[in-house]
Symmetry: C2
Subunit: 379 residues, 2 copies
């Protein structure tokens, strides 16, 4: 279990198979985010139909509501939300730092107030792992500290603590049917990132995540950081770029050897009427679409594009019908999943590096970046 098999490569990009108790993960892969044990407004049937293969859920949210003990009693996260394929939970660390009202970090862990009711809670590496053991995802994360990238003096301290917490997370982990990934931190400082990549690589994690990106740094800083980190990671372990991103970010990430991505962007944009398309990001509330009989994207095979016109979607938006968010979410997620299918095929035939500039050109109009990892906190 959890032995990553690289099946093809093209430059630094590679395809692989990562076996989990709930099926094989074919990488590179994009994971829809189901913050509160549901990908917002979608049923598991919708996710299967769009060929989603990995769903992420948030430990911070599930710990607070409905509680990890309850999820365990209900048979674990897969059974609770009826998602039969691979799942991933984060450690809760990111949300504690981005979402909770107040928090106090010490060497042992972090005390924070719930964003829901202000009640006080405490996470430590051991507690985070215990919660994730209760939730029962196939891939779980070491507890880390995601420091503010605008506070460089603090980045080093947070990184070193993240390293100590990584060792404690490994020790606390008790379920052989869950793959515990370590997390590389270090802000956008190349030396710290290199140091972190080497340290985390030295520990017996079956996969390695790159955290602390897409939190406000520029696109150039993100790519430069990936250029420092991925060459230092072991070839034979999957690499997960947390909370990223746009179609362009996925292409750029795969070019630099990333295997796994997640982001709330497709579902969040959908609820704000924005759809990914090769024409650029469409604002479907625009009056220009009122009588438009075309689907969002004529090349797309999703349920929404096979079934509904832009005119109908625009009507649902103007009439404030929630179905609009559902239908656009289906499209936006399928657009990224389909992009990854395409990328896997290109890597397999050895043409990805050569085709990447054209792919980047097609999807460029969708590339405006926001601090999407932060939004991940509330999905």
């Amino acid at each position: 279990m959890f032995e990553f098999d690289i099946t093809a490569s093209d430059g630094r990009a590679r395809t692989g198979v990562f076996p989990t108790p709930h099926g094989e993960l074919h990488t590179p892969v994009f994971a829809p985010v189901g913050t509160q044990a549901t990908v917002k407004t979608l049923t598991p049937e919708h996710l299967k139909e769009m060929r989603a293969s990995l769903v992420l859920s948030n430990t911070y949210h599930l710990y607070l509501r409905p509680g990890d003990e309850l999820v365990r009693e209900m048979g674990g996260l897969h059974e609770f939300m009826q998602w039969p394929k691979p799942m991933l939970t984060d450690s809760g660390g990111f949300q504690v730092f981005s979402l909770s009202d107040t928090r106090k970090v010490d060497e042992d862990g972090v005390t924070f107030k719930s964003h829901i009711d202000g009640s006080t809670h405490r996470f430590t590496p051991e507690r985070s792992i215990q919660i994730q053991n209760n939730l029962g995802a196939d891939i779980i994360m070491a507890f880390d500290e995601c420091a503010d990238p605008n506070n460089p003096a603090y980045i080093k301290k947070a990184m070193e603590r993240t390293h100590r917490w990584a060792e404690r997370s490994l020790k606390a982990h008790s379920r052989a049917d869950q793959a515990l990934f370590g997390i590389v931190q270090g802000g956008v400082d190349p030396d710290l990132r290199a140091q972190s990549a080497e340290f985390i690589s030295s520990l017996p994690f079956p996969g390695i995540a790159i955290g602390g990106l897409s939190v406000g740094e520029t696109k150039e800083e993100m790519l430069r950081t990936l250029d420092v980190v991925t060459p230092l990671l072991p070839e034979n372990k999957p690499r997960y770029l947390m909370g990223v991103g746009t179609p362009e970010d996925l292409i750029n990430g795969v070019l630099r050897g990333v295997d796994i991505f997640d982001c709330v962007l497709p579902t969040r944009l959908a609820r704000h009427h924005a759809a990914f398309s090769p024409e650029g990001r469409l604002n479907l509330m625009n009056a220009a679409y009122a009588r438009d009989k075309r689907p969002i994207d004529e090349t797309c095979d999703c349920y929404t594009c096979r079934t509904f016109t832009r005119g109908y979607l625009r009507h649902l938006i103007v009439a404030k019908e929630l179905l609009a968010g559902t239908l656009i979410s289906i499209h936006n997620l399928r657009a990224l999943i389909r992009l990854m299918e395409q990328i896997r095929a290109y890597i397999a035939e050895g043409t990805f590096t050569q085709r990447a500039p054209e792919l980047l050109r097609v999807w460029h109009g969708n590339a405006q970046r926001k601090p999407t990892h932060v939004s991940g906190a509330t999905a």
Copy 2:
């Protein structure tokens, strides 16, 4: 087209087949309400899976938004919302009287202000039919005046005007592929109801609706009115009880010879966490369900009951996830559609009258009535 074929009967209850351009309607039938060209939060795939056969949409709402001309340009309502089976539109009259901000009725029609933006509009029988011709449903309604049941002095006047408007609606109707139904009014006054039933029956409508019920009268008044009206209607035309109702209302209506029902109750209740069940109406937000591994109704075959626990639905509600409304809507609609399937089978085997008391007992706990037709206005 539009010749109603009665296939079995049991007391005053009957099963029948009503052919339409979009397929045969097997009655008695319950129609989900898709106020704004969508049954709230559900895709057409959900409706097909629950075996919905007739969907109602509201002329008042579609006229205001997106506009009936736009719907016609987009290929009509079936094409616009991608519902391939029979559809019904009301005349807009009821919403004008229940929902618009101000209105002035005269002999020719009614002037009203939009509840959306306060703009002034005018409906006449001719205009309502023209709008419904543009929308293109299989079954459309004569324009009527639904008078306040608490103003008996006015009921007679409104009924007589409804009769004159029925004749004008017939004259204005131009599409042979749409069945125009007349509407019986007369409040809860038995003499007026009898007079209206006889007058509307004398006109060449292929089907007859009973309007002005479920608008605040008692359950006894509703049943007494049905007892007066249905025996006076021609046997060979389908009878549609507008805006009704609860599981108990459907059973009582079929017992009195009603063939078609619609109501927003199942979807509206769902969005307020209430689910139909043989145990009575369940409030799924209740903490008692937090760890309940049972489905809403163990005897139900809907997607929600086949897939999810009460505990998961309760989590979605508490976490304010919109998927809760979707999943409970699927169940509540399927519960009524399944009840009608059961009733059709009982009528066919001649046991419905005999089994009705038991059915009423099973569903009694769901029977609390609200002025549901009024809610129909906003679905």
